[in-house]
Symmetry: C2
Subunit: 333 residues, 2 copies
């Protein structure tokens, strides 16, 4: 069973995933499972048997589980970082804290088409992916062992994707990740001081200056954040204050499908199909609805290598000013 | 002039380095300056003219500046992330905070031999590198604009090294990096509660359990930390409580040269010459000598890709339990 261990100094939780253990000799080998052909791809229609049993799908009415005919499909991760069965058994070893690695780790297969990138999908199709996110979130939230659910996408080998077939992932966690805590604490501090949501203030300031706004849509803005830590970092922020992604309205969901498709297409054209990650940032379950936090999506193209300096300091060097990145991204469609 | 910008939510500082700006089209190109030959290498003896003027060197007595005959040599970074000249001009733009990118960015050329890795150097030679670190630290500390100095090494392309000739880097910063603040705050909190240094307690617990100890030397222990966030992460911790790296004794410096050489050799053999980063973690200047923080070196072999999940959560998945990593590293010499 995997373990969750807490760094005693900075409080960061780490999953020590024994199920994935590699011997040192294996680290030398370059894996390119990314380049697997559709014939053997566990995410392609007809190969449903190569993946674990499906949890959720959007597809033809009356279609049978684990058969073709789906448009978006959710399955457990075959090599999960956390396992669903068991209890947490929180414990200490001397000054160290740990618990069992209980959680859910699911894969959202975004399309039956092995070669289609998200940047090439229709808005209608992207909406179905977002609906799958919502459905799984709403379902897993009921499990009282979980404190946070992270939805993210790794696209391309440089961004950590191990299969090229378009997919996102979901991890339900029994602890709130450090970064989420930091964001919520930072936003709360600002709220206590000014009685306003910091993200709402950022939206107002960005719409006023326009320097870093890439897309200004009815329900969302897309900006290159002022203190971007990597080149072409991009945030999608809903204009309406809302701390919980699950509370997105149907109108906003339509807008988000359009806006997400648009910005990914811009990034794809501008940076020539780069690897990227995106993450949905939303409130932790212990404080879902609040006036200070504001859900949003952060997109990070993977263009630079994270070096020792960045890793050890949390202090990033970004060679591209966000104003320039915004200018470039605005210019392509 | 580069800028320092502060993330308004989580408080992280970012260097926006306009001097290094690349157009989007350039991101597509794979650079391999790493593989430059000694003939053109700016760090090789005889090519001193290709690098900025030297700041410090250890070499033959009576040798002239910027000429061969050195064993370790320090020069300014040719493409510095921060610049030395100017004042900080701290300012706000609406809710954002920024200042000029004032700082020092230097390169410690560790050897005249283009092909020699640190893991292959003698202990005597490694000691000279450590002396160069100390000398530069002591000198830059006098500049009252600087609040922290980070010394780190990126080895190999995967770890962000742009030249293969063995070198380390030093960045002097006008702000304390977030991660350093977190470590110092975490250590202080523990101290307030228990009246003991957490690192001293870790040393005691690790020496008692032995599960994660790789090297137990007179003055230092080398351990795979309990909550390692990446495979084969390794910390070198001095046994004597000391918050400031500059206060290392000569006896400890000898020990550190031996221990650093040994662990790098173990990592080199065990993981077949992997890319890695190391960083010296020491107190910030505003609180150099204190009973709660404990300087140390963190070494991170670069074996896994940092994916979206890790980036967005500060929550790492480590496939190799540190107990196993310690076992492997103990077994090779």
């Amino acid at each position: 069973m995997p373990q969750l261990r807490r760094d005693p100094i900075i409080g960061r939780w780490v999953i020590i995933s024994t199920e994935r253990a590699k011997r040192p000799i294996e680290w030398g080998r370059k894996e390119s499972t990314s380049q697997i052909s559709p014939e053997y791809c566990p995410f392609c229609p007809g190969n449903e048997k190569y993946a674990p049993h499906e949890i959720f799908a959007i597809g033809k009415p009356g279609r049978q589980l684990d058969t073709p005919g789906w448009e978006v499909r959710v399955v457990p991760n075959k090599f999960p970082a956390l396992v669903v069965e068991g209890d947490l058994n929180k414990r200490g070893i001397g000054l160290y804290d740990m618990m069992n690695g209980i959680g859910a780790h699911e894969v959202i297969i975004e399309t039956p088409d092995h070669f289609l990138r998200m940047s090439q999908m229709t808005h209608d199709h992207i909406k179905k992916i977002l609906i799958a996110y919502k459905e799984r979130l709403a379902d897993l939230k009921k499990d009282i062992r979980f404190k946070y659910i992270m939805i993210f996408k790794n696209y391309g080998e440089e961004a950590g994707a191990s299969l090229s077939h378009s997919h996102s992932q979901l991890i339900a966690l029994p602890v709130v990740p450090k970064r989420v805590n930091e964001e919520m604490t930072g936003a709360k501090r600002y709220y206590e001081y000014r009685d306003r949501c910091i993200y709402c203030d950022i939206i107002a300031q960005e719409l006023h200056s326009r320097e870093r706004v890439i897309i200004d849509e009815r329900n969302f803005i897309v900006v290159a954040p002022f203190a971007s830590c990597s080149p072409f970092e991009t945030w999608i922020i809903p204009k309406r204050h809302c701390s919980d992604f699950l509370k997105i309205t149907d109108d906003e969901l339509n807008s988000l499908s359009v806006v997400l498709g648009k910005i990914l297409k811009k990034i794809d054209i501008c940076l020539m199909n780069p690897s990227f990650n995106y993450i949905i940032h939303t409130s932790s379950f212990n404080n879902l609805e609040n006036p200070y936090y504001h859900w949003h999506i952060e997109i990070m193209p993977k263009l630079t290598k994270i070096a020792g300096f960045e890793w050890g300091t949390g202090f990033y060097i970004n060679p591209t000013p966000p104003e320039e990145a915004a200018e470039y991204l605005k210019g392509v469609d």
